[in-house]
Structure formats: C-alpha cells, structure tokens
C-alpha cells in the first residue's frame, strides 16, 4: 500500500515539524553542556565565543575529577541514593499491597496522608528538618552533616511516589494466582512471597529506579543538611563550583554535570514508558 505509506510519511513530517520548537529547546542545554565539557580551557573563556571546540579536550574530565574530589562525591551520591531507594521501596511494598488488595477503614485517610506529605515539600520543611537533625544525638554530635539524616528524609519523602507507582501495578496482577496457592494449602503470607512478589518484580525494579533518580537529583535537603565537602553529593558539589565564585571553571562544571547526568538520563530514557502507565493510573485513581 504505497499511498498509505506516503500518508504516514507526510504525517511524520508534519508531527516532527510541529514538535521541532520543543525538541530544539530541550536539546539545546544538552548541546551546550557537551560542547563546553569538551572545549579546551582557553577557548571556553575567549571572546567572541565559538560553538565548536578546536579539539576534544579529554583532559577536562581528568583535571576536574582531581580538583573537585568528584570520586568522593560520586560515592556519596551512590550510597545515599541506593540506601534510601532500598528503604523506600522496602516499606512501600507492604503498604502498596495493602492498598491494592484490601479494603479497610482509614484507606482513604492514608491516601490523603500521602498527598499531604507531597504537599509538605522538603523546602517548606527544610528549617524544621534541620532542627530535627540537630536534635538527634549521633556520635560526637548530631545528625547534621551525616548521611543518615539525609537517607531517612529521602526515604520518607519518596514513600508517596513509591506507593502510588507500586499500587497501580499491583492492582493489575490477577488475584486468582494467589487464591490458587491458598487452595493448595499455602498460607497467605507464603502465597504473597512465592506467587505475588515474583510477579511484581518488574514493578518493584522500575519503581526503585525512579526512586533512585529522585534521590540522585534532590537538592534542597542535602544542600541544607550536609556541610563538609567530604560528605557532599555530586549535585551539591557542582553547585559549589558555581555559586559564590569569582571565576567559574565552566569547562569543569560542564564536564562534571555531564558525568553526573548522562548515566541517569540514559537509564531514564530507557524506562520512561513505564512511568506513563504507573503514574497516570496511580494518580487518578
């Protein structure tokens, strides 16, 4: 059917044309980041500026890594994001299971509570969170400038999102498989463990990855709670390279930004179709 193909081709051109302003504005910052990260230092701050570097300055990455203690920051980001993800998904699985499989008094109230925790965003609470961390004794001092305070906060604040996502997937897993296991003499908790959780695995992985990305990208809480350079995450470390400096090494900033964002962006792009399903179902229901 050549005419049908031709009409699809025509439609494709029209669609891309209509989307092009949006696509350009979205891709522009990525282009700026990439072009600056690989520009030799003297070309970044030369006037008039040029779009393309004369050569690819790989040394930007190595020098940046040394000068900004990028390795430490990266390790901190990975530790904080991983632990808070495991904890958040861990406590959200039972809650989401209850929301998807039971009808109980207080269910609507719990749903409203989750919405309220989303409304009380970290930045509104940041002053109180700081006082909370300062009030809890730990080691020689308190939880200010420790990873524990940040991890607990991330875990709590990601719960609403994780429960929403998991619940909407759990609701799509047919109930009869568990019932069949009960009939075969399997106890209810065992049926959940042996039958339900394996089926729910993909949902848990996807939810976990998005929770990880949320934690990785968070700024306000960690910016407030963490003081010393050796405890900072990549995001805060990069902001420190820019904020309040008289001269900013933009090629280092962009090299660091590229390393901090590229893996997450790739992971996210690969998984974004699951978000469409999970969020829209969980949010509207």
């Amino acid at each position: 059917m050549p005419s049908k193909n031709k009409s699809k081709l025509k439609r494709s051109i029209l669609c891309w044309l209509a989307l092009s302003p949006l696509v350009i504005v979205i891709l522009l910052p990525f282009a700026v980041m990439l072009l600056t990260a690989i520009k030799p230092a003297d070309e970044v701050l030369s006037y008039p500026p040029r779009w393309l570097p004369s050569r690819i300055a790989w040394e930007n990455f190595f020098v940046m890594w040394e000068e900004t203690q990028f390795g430490t920051a990266l390790k901190n980001s990975i530790v904080i994001s991983t632990l808070s993800t495991v904890l958040a998904v861990g406590i959200s699985i039972p809650a989401a299971y209850a929301m998807a499989r039971f009808r109980f008094a207080g269910q609507a109230g719990y749903r409203r509570f989750l919405l309220v925790t989303q409304m009380l965003s970290p930045i509104l609470l940041v002053l109180g969170l700081f006082r909370l961390a300062a009030a809890i004794p730990y080691g020689d001092g308190n939880l200010v400038d420790t990873h524990i305070g940040v991890i607990a906060t991330y875990t709590a604040l990601n719960t609403a999102f994780a429960v929403w996502m998991l619940q909407s997937y759990f609701a799509t897993i047919p109930h009869d498989m568990e019932e069949a296991a009960w009939l075969e003499g399997c106890s209810k908790p065992r049926a959940v463990l042996k039958v339900f959780l394996p089926l729910a695995m993909p949902a848990m992985v996807v939810t976990g990855i998005f929770t990880f990305i949320n934690a990785w990208n968070e700024f306000a809480v960690i910016y407030t709670l963490i003081r010393s350079a050796e405890n900072k995450t990549v995001t805060v470390q990069i902001v420190d390279l820019v904020a309040g400096r008289y001269t900013v090494n933009w090629h280092h900033v962009m090299a660091a930004a590229l390393l901090a964002t590229l893996p997450v962006a790739v992971l996210f792009s690969w998984l974004q179709k699951y978000l469409v399903k999970g969020l829209s179902l969980g949010a509207v229901k």
Binding site: V23, P29, R101, F102, L120, I123, L127, A257
Partner: protein, 290 residues
C-alpha cells in the same frame, strides 16, 4: 477481599510511621519557631505571638515576593498545560520516530533541576554564553544582552525554564489519559462529519479533563515549591527582583539569620497550598454533583 481488619494496618504501618515522624516533627517545630523570637543561631527565646507574621507582612520584599510567586505559579503551570496538551496529542499519533520523539520530550525530567539551571545559567552568560552568540548570529540582537543581571529579563527566562522542566511529567500524565481513550469513538465522529477541531473540543478535551485537573493540582504544588531553578540561576537577585517564596524563605533562614520569620513564611506557604487544594477538592465535588 480479606475481612481481617488488622493486616492492612500492619502493612501500612512502617511507611506511615516513618513518613509521619519525618514530616510532623519539622512541621511542629516550624509552628513553634514561628510564634517565638528566634536568634540568628536558632536559639528559641521568648514567646512572641504573631510578631514574626506581623514582621513579614510589613516587609515590602515579602509582599512583592508573594505576588511574584503567584505570577510564577500561574505562568509556569498554565504554560506547561498549553505546551503539553498539543505535544501529547502529537505524541499519540502514529508517525515515524515516535519513540524517539517521546524519549526526547521526557529528557528534561531525567536531569535534576539543579543541573538544568546550571547549564542554562552558563548558556545565558553575557560574554561567553552560546545563547547570546546564537541570537547575534541570527541577527536577532546586535550586542550581548545581560540576561541574568536584569530581573525583567531573568524572571521570564526562569518561567520559561520552569515550563520546560514541567512538560515531561505533564505529558506523561496526558499520554496515560489519551491511551485510555477508545479509538472507535473517533471513527464514529468522523463518519458523522466532525472535523479535527470539533473532535478535539467534543471528544478529546472532555476525556482528558480529569487528567488535566490532576496535572494542574500536582504541578501547582511542585512549581509553587520549586527551589533550584531560581536559586541556582539568580539566587533571588538582582535586588531581590526574582525571589519567589521558597527562595526568600531559604535566604531568611540560612543567609540572613532570621529563622523565626522564615518559619512564618513556611506556614503562610502551607496555608496557601492547603487553601488551594481545599478549593480544588470543593470544585471537583461540585463537578461530580452536576
């Protein structure tokens, strides 16, 4: 469905307990600080009643910031919906490269607002920024503009970036909504001679309505509370000209050493959010009753 009432309570308990603790201690602490005199090092002194609230409402910076926050929220959320509706209508069409187009649309979501703001701040650099270079090459401007040095330029720019980073989440919700629309009703409409605009007005928009509503509510909450874009690009300056409430709150608390007033700002913001969601829920109930 199980009849045992205890099991679901035990299942939600861990998440409920942790979230309640992490949210309620700071909340009550902020209430406490807001009605006390607090030193710049955070020592709570005498009870001061509504003095902190009186101070912020007499503060001209707070009042203009309050107003600017409303402009920020309305413009970013409104702009986001205006971009996201047509974008998602295109992204459900069957065309070559649709998967790629969807991935590109989602990209801003994957990087943190902080990184986005840093990149844009560099792109809009007066002397060395590629935006000024590009606009000069295209002949739109004659000399480099000082984008971030003037609130009249910087704030609209921040609104534009706010829209850009909110589009992916909103498109995601709309795509979920559009995928639940049965396709045969469009064929029926075409048979009856409805043109594309009529189909959009009479079929798509009503079906998309609940999804637009939820997107507006969630975006209002997120955008109203959005901190990194403005903090990283202009820190509320120059001359307090780009502050919104969250950035002003942060400055009061951690830069200017006025935690009592910052706590009062937090509570005012919270009341505004509660008023908004309350109003929204009333409106929803009204719609259901119709």
């Amino acid at each position: 469905m199980s009849k045992r009432p205890l099991a679901p309570w035990l299942l939600i308990l861990p998440s409920f307990a942790l979230a309640l603790f992490i949210v309620s201690y700071p909340f009550f602490n902020i209430v406490w600080q807001s009605v006390h005199e607090v030193s710049r090092f955070g020592q709570v002194r005498d009870f001061s009643g509504v003095a902190n609230f009186a101070t912020i409402f007499a503060d001209p910076v707070f009042m203009t910031t309050l107003w600017r926050t409303l402009v920020w929220t309305v413009c970013v959320v409104g702009g986001t919906v205006l971009v996201a509706v047509p974008a998602s209508l295109i992204l459900v069409q069957d065309f070559y490269g649709r998967g790629l187009a969807r991935t590109i649309t989602m990209l801003p979501w994957s990087i943190s607002l902080t990184m986005t703001a840093i990149i844009w701040r560099w792109a809009f650099n007066d002397e060395f920024g590629l935006i000024n270079l590009g606009l000069q090459q295209l002949g739109i401007i004659n000399q480099p503009l000082h984008w971030l040095a003037d609130p009249a330029l910087a704030f609209p720019l921040e609104i534009m970036i706010g829209i850009l980073v909110s589009v992916p989440f909103t498109v995601t919700i709309f795509l979920g909504g559009l995928s639940s629309v049965p396709t045969d009703i469009y064929e029926a409409a075409r048979m009856e001679g409805a043109n594309a605009w009529q189909q959009f007005r009479k079929l798509t928009l009503p079906l998309l309505r609940p999804f637009i509503n939820i997107a507006i509510v969630l975006n209002v909450i997120y955008v109203f509370n959005s901190f990194p874009i403005i903090w990283v690009m202009t820190q509320g300056g120059p001359d307090n000209g780009t502050h919104i409430l969250v950035t002003y709150l942060y400055e009061l608390a951690f830069r200017l050493g006025r935690p009592g007033e910052a706590a009062a700002v937090s509570l005012v913001m919270l009341l505004m959010l509660l008023a908004f969601t309350g109003l929204y829920m009333r409106m929803q109930r009204g719609e259901h009753a119709e």
